[in-house]
Symmetry: C4
Subunit: 244 residues, 4 copies
């Protein structure tokens, strides 16, 4: 029965996080929140209250978990818990509210505060073993990924320099500098292809053709790398979206 | 010989479904159906007649199938069949016609009716074991896919908030709100890259670069996930496009 | 030594095909061929002469190959060879020239003739075992691929109908009919994303989001399907770009 | 301790290469380097000095490495080292500076010199075993890749010719020639989809649909090919981003 209760609390907390994300998103719409201002304010206060209770409860319970280092003493264990990334995310979800209330943050810049409130979406990671798996994958495959990023780095810079040399005269505005050319090279290499910057000269298009084919190659490298790593890691663990 | 006949009927029904889909599609073209109106009306009437015969036949024959629950009694079996998704699709293909005829649906909104008629394309799922396999894959991999969607959800919202903060002032029309920014983030993460909304400031492009690389990573995750799951499932069964 | 000679002839023929493709391509450029007209004409005549010799030689030599059916008699074997796809490609590379010369094809429509001459690029398939492997893959996996195409067909039509219903009023020109909507749906499902047709209403974008995510899924299905099939097949054979 | 020192030198050299790449990139921005001109000049002089010391040291040390051919004699070994690609990259990083200084290269064309200085990014390959693995993959899979390129070549030219025939009259500017059509075909086949050239006629879009679906197929071929090859190769070696 305790399990069913814990599951119910988890689902309620997930719902609250999603509602919070939705609220931050909707507030930026023109004409919003308008007359609904008080509703949003109350949602914020209630959310912070619930998240605070959640944080303190988890902190309190942490005293029973010796952790990988086998710590002794309730407060030492709690302190160790507080420095874990997942606890810092929980703290970041409530601290800004209290700091603003105490006047330690000027309430002026609404947009920055909004961005900080969006960080609450990270609280979902607690309920998704998958995302924690991805962190594990990144850790175990960090060398391979760094190597792949080095290849992308080299390909990007050589492509951008080549296209800059060739297209600069034909389109001095669009290919005005290598950083601008890098933007084109990245959009092409990743096959995103916005089309806001496009080569028009024959030589520029020849380079573009090479970059596109290279892009598919690099795409295959990345995709294969991530896919196999993630699959290994994701399959190993049992996926549960609930429970810590 | 019965098999050859059944196969012939299947092919005829598949052809009829495709002709129906084509008719719904063509009717929306400007100047269509025009003088061909009666032809389209007759196609509709004949199709409904055939689909009705098909539905009743399948319903009748269902009496012989005890199903996974080993039901007894012809009508109980038929009732059980009627609630299966594949039977509901068959019903949805004919019911609106009769309801409109009986005056229970106002014939006014031609476009809604057209959309309902397009649902007949779903009748093809009966002839493709593959699509039924996909449903099976979705069921067996629902946790992994939910986890992947959680990751996409988090990545989308953080990307959108970041780009909104950075680009809002430079392009107040295109990045007017976080929902607008979400549209950009999704088009970039999935490497679709329409180019209708594109960052132009250096910091916006830096965020864009991160989202593009993240997109390839998530793409790899999704692709690997789906690919391996589908492959497992699709290979297991023998693919037959004919036969139930 | 005979082997080295055969290899040299192969390379010379490959070069001639590429030069032909290049010639057809360049002829369409504005201001071309202009004064170089005679050069192009001579290239055409010499190419046809060489390809004719090649065709007749292969036909002659075919008398020594009993083929899979163990045919007897030189001319029966030659006739069997003539109906093979690879021999038809060779014939299509030379026949139009002779038919035009004999006045059996009006030389008027230069563009259609150009397209037929471009078919010579298919002669390269003889030198690439890989392309023949792809045909083999298509044959052995035809059911799986048909199933995948059925899924794409259903997803495309439902997406197009949904977006048409939702976006038609906001963009009557761009989403004027379901065929137009199909174009958008295909560009989105395949993650090509031209950006020439893009939803602008909130509901249209919601559908667009679903189609994008669906697109990645279908992309994964296709990619996984093709990738694994091609890999199986391509690896099995030894790749040689030379030799028949 | 010697190992820690070598690691420190490696990191310092990597940092210097990245700073050089950044400098070349930033110099192209409008209004740059401006008053910072002397700083950039000094960076160049110091970099060349360090890279020269590095080159000479490596050349000197090469005397101790007999190489795969078991060469004897210090100077023969050094000569053999000088002709290796990795040594040529090191030489290309410093030679242009000295040639310009000696007046052997006119200092006029700043842009060409800049491009040559960007080649220093290739020096990173020394520190990434992954990129050397890619070269190895290209070598061992060269036949498969050539075969895949032949398929792409054929698909591109047939697609381009078809779309040119169909769209030329509707859009004589965008599909003015087959080379222009090739640009569209490549952007579609690789799913980049810039959207700068897009078919508008029904038949053009029908061809576009085929090319898109073909593109996904070829994408799957490429991705599967590269992914599996790279993975094999990358996994085999231990990834170290440091050390020679």
């Amino acid at each position: 029965r305790a399990d069913a209760l814990g599951r119910g609390v988890d689902i309620a907390l997930i719902a609250l996080i999603v509602v919070n994300v939705l609220a931050v998103t909707l507030e930026t719409l023109e004409g919003w929140p308008g007359p609904y201002r008080p509703w949003f304010d109350w949602l914020e206060r209630i959310s912070v209250a619930i998240f605070t209770v959640e944080y303190l409860t988890r902190l309190w319970v942490a005293a029973e978990d010796p952790g990988p280092r086998g710590l002794r003493g309730a407060w030492r264990r709690r302190l160790a818990y507080m420095t874990r990334p997942i606890a810092l995310i929980d703290l970041a979800a409530i601290l800004p509210f209290y700091l603003t209330m105490m006047g330690m943050i000027p309430p002026a810049d609404g947009r920055a505060l909004r961005a900080i409130r969006m960080l609450r979406v990270l609280k979902l990671t607690r309920y998704s073993v998958a995302l924690q798996s991805i962190v594990a994958v990144f850790h175990s495959e960090r060398r391979t990924m760094l190597a792949a990023l080095v290849i992308v780095f080299i390909a990007l810079h050589l492509s951008a320099t080549a296209i800059y040399l060739v297209e600069h005269e034909a389109q001095p505005e669009k290919f005005s500098s290598i950083p601008e050319a890098l933007w084109w090279a990245l959009a092409t290499l990743t096959t995103v292809g916005y089309g806001d910057v496009v080569p028009i000269t024959p030589w520029g298009r020849a380079i573009g053709a090479v970059v596109m084919l290279l892009g598919i190659g690099l795409f295959g490298l990345w995709t294969g790398l991530f896919a196999s790593s993630f699959l290994d890691e994701l399959r190993r663990r049992d996926f549960k979206v609930t429970g810590q």
